[in-house]
Symmetry: C2
Subunit: 489 residues, 2 copies
């Protein structure tokens, strides 16, 4: 709308879909799309006494463990609660408080409050992260000045994608299927998504030849491809890459002059011994080719929201930069200042995640029991769900190597596809909607993540409580059989 | 850098000042600029035993009360700490916990945990905000579905400025002087700042005739002016607008088809009875002209960081929308989903700020004592600093009506201005640097906020602890006299 048009219509809205930021308008974000909204409605209707063919809504759509009743890690919350109420740390309260809190939680809270001090700068927490990286990767110490604390990994990814975008020709390689934060943020900053495909037949593996083809073609078409985003372990696909693959990818980044954005938030969600998590940081520091090691610009993201920590609601994370230009680090610092610091609670949880209770600490037995309890249960749930999917006609599901998701492919009958088309829906969106209405199970259709044309998928977490699994797996099986029957050719 | 240039230089950095997002590069943000960084250096040098003509750095540059040792409100932290560690709320812990926490804090934490539930949606907290707005403005109930919880006011302002920006022709009116969040965000989203000037001689008042001239001229020049941003009470200027002024501004917004962005984070920082805080919401709902009341699109921002709450580190706030298009509200919801929810702690603090202990609650006496203690002290400190500035030669300071800042004008000797020019510095930046080196007092030069050409100012908070005031005021006075003497004409 032009200025003249504006002024010609006093009393009309200024801010409308016609006048708003087009980049924002173009953002698509399926994880909380119409199926998720319908699931909320059904929950309210169930509460209000309406009858459905099921008793409860099961949220397999959102990767927030605590939203699915996963109990927070006791030690983390004890320390956080003491930091919140420093009065509890005064000497006169000690006789009572020592009956409520273990001594190591009290000591850690005192240390953190001293470290955080009156100031908001948290060098001590960045130091903890640096030490964690050194130990995790059995490597040289990380540089704490190249670590930035964030409100979760998402805000870090958004900062870096924005930093990289110079014009609408700027291209960022993103996996398909992908967690839609990437496509949504690229829409928002007006950059070009350069999709590369994960190979479902190779357990959602990543093929460097295909990456080379993709970048070459995009550059031929005038796209200024600058970075490669990799989610490892994968979301929604759950694969975990081998060290050989990581090494090749880094060589590719060097050859093609690409910044590597490594989203490693699922690094402790690993379910097979054959595929341990190896960080891109380790693969870079161990890289056999010296100039790759010394040159490839790597930004790796981590978060308190995933793993056994699962503290999505606290919004905490960090990213570490290797081989980045100092001026760029200064620019990141400036932007962090404009947005002010990330919330202190998220930062405290980052510290605790990176430095949990150690053997012989009073809290270690409970901490260890909680973490391994969650881990073993997640592993069992992953296997149970994978088996259930693979037992369904026309459904094939790759093994859960990592993360919190399965992404089965479904062969849908032609009639179902046509019917969905008539409704203006992607066929897997229609399938997922029908699943929700029939079973109360809420998943996210594959079309929200991207997939090879003509294939259909959905993403399901395996986060619902374990005691619900048998019931909802058999509900899905029954729904699937009746769906196939209804639309059989 | 083009694709060809990229590929011609393997091993060079991909991400450099030459290739990065220009909008980000152009962002300027003085509040944490070079003087603030120098202040940190001096603090470290003092700690390391280096001698300066002062004993401590006094941070008058940052509006974070707790960073300046303001004690958090006890009740708020008690409730937050219980929410963090729900184990404390179990029956078996009650005998101990009831000796550490008052009964209303325990009851409130239980209520909040029930309201927040396993889900991240926080309708209950938005309901608390809606009720707070109704009571504050003695008005019709606010619509909780038009309230968005945020990670502080800054992120809300960024969302709305981004939403409003359609192209580089999009214009947003911002005050000069202004808190640089506005100019920085407009740089970032690539919109045009349309500055209007606050009138220092009228106690930094806002003149609607001048607004009309400004918008008319900008539109003549092709700028698509869409919104007016007002900070009330002012930052850095501390003025508090009258209801008559608010009413006129709303009429102006209707006539000129402008969305009104009302930054009201200092609404409880009010120091003169003659100028009580009146919200734009109230002025709109009470507006004598029916079509103004029914049409002007108002977005008002609030925060837990200011007032007597001062919880900057928790990152919590909200904005309320009135008269906004439903499609736009849906778009805001979508963007909130992409960035995931604001952290739970910030949201809990918003609830507590909007619904603090009431008379007869067990925590009321302490709550009341803490809040009025902070308030009365802030008022005394504001008056003391204002008097100190006005006693200095060539310095004139408007009265502190509201907020946490004074913004005195300083008449600088020509020689000082020339000397600063030779150093490539704004004259008030040079003055502020010299003040820091001589006294340890860190302020922000007026050039960081914008000012009438040829005038010089600095912004000083009055947040340092009260017992430091006499010493640092006399240090500033001595520095000022010697600065004038050194550069006298």
């Amino acid at each position: 709308m032009t200025v003249a048009e504006h002024q010609a219509h006093p009393g009309q809205k200024v801010l409308t879909p016609g006048t708003m930021n087009n980049y924002i308008k173009n953002v698509e974000y399926a994880v909380r799309g119409r199926i998720a909204i319908r699931a909320e409605e059904i929950r309210d209707e169930l509460d209000a006494g309406k009858k459905f063919p099921f008793e409860r809504v099961v949220n397999c759509n959102i990767g927030n463990p605590q939203q699915l009743n996963q109990k927070p890690i006791t030690f983390f919350r004890q320390v956080a609660s003491l930091c919140e109420n420093p009065d509890l740390l005064s000497d006169d309260k000690a006789p009572l408080v020592s009956q409520l809190y273990p001594s190591d939680a009290i000591a850690r809270a005192k240390q953190l409050l001293k470290d955080i001090g009156p100031s908001i700068g948290v060098p001590a927490i960045r130091r903890t992260v640096a030490k964690f990286l050194e130990q995790r990767d059995d490597s040289v110490p990380a540089n704490m000045n190249h670590i930035f604390l964030t409100q979760g990994a998402s805000s870090g990814v958004q900062t870096m994608l924005s930093m990289l975008t110079q014009s609408s020709d700027t291209g960022i390689m993103i996996p398909i299927p992908q967690y839609p934060l990437y496509s949504a943020t690229l829409s928002l900053v007006g950059a070009t998504a350069v999709p590369y495909y994960l190979d479902e037949q190779q357990q959602w593996g990543l093929d460097v030849n295909q990456l080379t083809q993709t970048v070459t073609e995009a550059r031929k078409n005038g796209t200024d491809v600058r970075a490669l985003a990799i989610i490892n372990p994968g979301n929604p696909t759950g694969q975990c890459l081998t060290k050989a693959n990581l090494t090749d990818i880094l060589t590719f980044c060097y050859d093609q002059q690409l910044v590597l954005l490594a989203d490693e938030v699922y690094q402790t969600n690993i379910y097979t011994q054959a595929r341990p998590f190896i960080s891109f940081r380790k693969a870079l520091l161990d890289h056999p080719i010296e100039h790759v090691k010394n040159h490839v610009e790597l930004v790796s993201f981590h978060s308190i929201s995933k793993g056994m920590v699962g503290e999505c609601g606290r919004r905490g994370g960090y990213f570490e930069c290797i081989n980045l230009n100092q001026d760029i680090l200064d620019q990141i610092y400036k932007m962090a200042s404009v947005s002010l610091c990330p919330n202190i609670h998220g930062q405290i949880l980052v510290d605790l995640m990176c430095h949990p209770p150690q053997e012989n600490d009073p809290s270690y037995p409970i901490y260890h029991k909680e973490v391994s309890g969650i881990y073993e249960s997640l592993k069992r749930r992953a296997q149970k769900l994978e088996a259930a999917f693979n037992a369904m006609e026309g459904v094939s599901c790759q093994p859960a190597q990592g993360s919190m998701y399965l992404f089965p492919t479904i062969t849908l009958p032609k009639k179902a596809i046509q019917h969905a088309e008539q409704l203006g829906l992607a066929a897997d969106a229609y399938y997922s909607e029908q699943m929700l209405e029939a079973t109360g199970v809420c998943v996210v259709p594959g079309s929200g993540f991207g997939q090879v044309d003509g294939t259909y998928h959905f993403r399901s977490t395996f986060l619902p409580e374990e005691h619900l699994f048998d019931a909802f797996c058999s509900n899905i099986e029954a729904f699937h059989a009746s769906f196939l029957k209804k639309y059989q050719d």
